[in-house]
């Protein structure tokens, strides 16, 4: 199967979106998951509900809110565009933010499970000997890493597949903001079977690779 320029550019845009979205998930999601795992029951429940919200509302609703927040209709959006010079509507970083928001719940859930498995006594001991940050980096991270790798893979796969929210905020501009899912949608709508085939097949193969990686990580975790 061969890919033409438009298909390759969709794959490139998707790779950019996936990389930035996954990075967002790692930074924001790890922090959130850590606090949820370590906080008292009420705070944890509140944080957990907030982190899960994008999972239970339709991605198109997420896209709609983001479009409002970052676009010309809101004061914040006008501030971003005119004063900060940051244009997120119709750009790939905007698509990445949308994909990141939608993928965040999956990252947080998986990472949180990893943190919760750590023996609290180990962490208590660590906290008597080092700063909280050092204790997190030297003790918690090494113990929870398989869960964090799994979380990263799941978030990456989810952000590659994100369609509803990204297409609303980023539009569907070939070569600029058109991701693989958007290009598939476009090809189907335009009756371009070969293109839809090529890109859907690419997604299938990529999905299989991610799943294979995921099960390797999980196996390692089990036999540790």
């Amino acid at each position: 199967m061969s890919f033409d320029g438009l298909e390759l550019s969709a794959i490139r845009v998707s790779a950019q979106v996936m990389a930035l979205a996954t990075l967002m998930c790692i930074v924001v999601g790890t922090t959130l998951a850590w606090y949820i795992a370590r906080s008292g029951r009420r705070v944890a429940a509140l944080l957990s509900a907030l982190a899960l919200l994008p999972l239970v509302i339709p991605p198109s609703a997420v896209g709609y809110y983001l479009l409002y927040a970052f676009g010309r209709q809101s004061t914040f959006g006008n501030f971003l565009i005119d004063d900060v010079g940051l244009r997120l509507v119709f750009t790939w970083p905007g698509a990445a933010i949308a994909a990141g928001v939608v993928s965040l719940p999956l990252f947080v859930r998986t990472a949180q499970a990893g943190f919760e498995q750590i023996d609290p006594e180990l962490l208590a001991v660590a906290s008597t000997m080092a700063s909280p940050f050092r204790a997190f980096v030297r003790v918690a991270l090494p113990l929870a890493w398989p869960a964090l790798v799994a979380a990263t893979l799941i978030a990456a796969a989810r952000s590659l597949g994100e369609f509803g929210a990204t297409v609303i905020i980023a539009g569907n501009i070939p070569g600029e903001t058109q991701t693989v899912p958007a290009a598939i949608y476009d090809a189907v709508q335009a009756g371009d079977r070969p293109r839809a085939n090529a890109l859907a097949f690419f997604s299938l193969v990529f999905g299989l690779v991610v799943l294979a990686g995921l099960s390797l990580v999980l196996q390692r975790q089990r036999y540790r």
């Binding site: 676009g71 010309r72 244009r87 539009g171 569907n172 501009i173 476009d186 709508q189 335009a190 009756g191």
Partner: protein, 284 residues
């Protein structure tokens, strides 16, 4: 199996036969045939009411309509529903998308395309009733600018980088997108502003991008901005956007489809369409 079918067939068919008889009776005796109450077609237009045997009226019809009709069709709907005695459920989209859906078997009684090519494709695929194709109007392009910046006075003004994002409908499957691209090309600025183009899924969305301020300017259907500030784009800059209707075969609502299309061709329909900026099809 065969025995079972034979035993089933007569009792099962009885209500059906009764229903058909009733329906025919209703058509023949009670009240006027909806199509007969129509006035004579406007000069230069085709008549699409000559139905074939086996075609039927339905109390409800799903209509695949190009999104340039979103305002005009809503305005026309009460008259259409009254004349053709059917509840109309319009589904709007780009003509190319709707054509794909009909090819894939979506049940639309009538397809109102923004161009002539997509209905012709359906016809080639054998999906249109005989005599069920008619060009009913010509669409025009209009240029709009978002609030808060200097309005673009003409299509050439789009070369100004102040219009950072210019919205058009997706030329891949939207006739107005193709026309907008052709107009930009004729104006000699397509190459320069290509990097600033953003595509709406259909012409309504392209206009929406400008309405919400997310695109700085846009080229779309006159029919959607007739009551807003706009600049009409010279029709010589692009091939005509010939609005074409196609009555879809074997939907059980073929006569209703013909009736609606015929209404659009009649003087009242033409007048209503022209109020939204559509132009009459030039006589052949």
């Amino acid at each position: 199996m065969r025995q079972f079918a034979r035993r089933l067939s007569l009792p099962a068919l009885l209500p059906l036969i009764a229903a058909i008889a009733l329906a025919c009776g209703a058509n023949a005796d009670d009240g006027p045939d909806p199509a007969e109450s129509l006035v004579t077609p406007a000069p230069g237009t085709v008549s699409v009411i000559e139905a074939e045997p086996g075609e039927a009226y339905a109390g409800r019809i799903r209509l695949a309509a190009a999104s340039d009709l979103r305002d005009a069709l809503e305005a026309l709907r009460p008259a259409l529903e009254e004349t053709c005695q059917a509840t109309i459920t319009p589904v709007y989209g780009s003509s190319g998308q709707l054509k794909e859906q009909i090819l894939a078997g979506a049940e639309f009684g009538l397809f109102l395309s923004a161009d002539a090519g997509f209905p012709a494709e359906l016809d080639d695929a054998g999906l249109v009733v005989s005599g069920g194709l008619a060009e009913y109007a010509v669409g025009r392009l209009a240029l709009v600018t978002r609030d808060g910046i200097a309005p673009a006075a003409s299509i050439d003004a789009l070369i100004d980088p102040v219009y950072e994002r210019v919205a058009i409908a997706n030329p891949g499957h939207a006739p107005y997108g193709r026309a907008a691209e052709a107009a930009l090309d004729s104006a000699g600025i397509l190459h320069d502003i290509r990097g600033r183009l953003v595509f709406g899924e259909n012409v309504r969305q392209a206009i929406d991008y400008v309405d919400t301020g997310n695109a700085d300017a846009g080229i779309g259907a006159l029919a959607l901005v007739i009551n807003a500030d706009h600049v009409l784009i010279d029709a010589v800059l692009h091939p005509p956007i010939t609005q074409t209707g196609a009555v879809v075969r074997e939907t059980g609502a073929e006569r209703t489809g013909r009736c609606i299309l015929q209404y659009l061709l009649n003087p009242e329909g033409q007048q209503a369409l022209q109020a939204f900026g559509f132009e009459a099809v030039a006589p052949q």
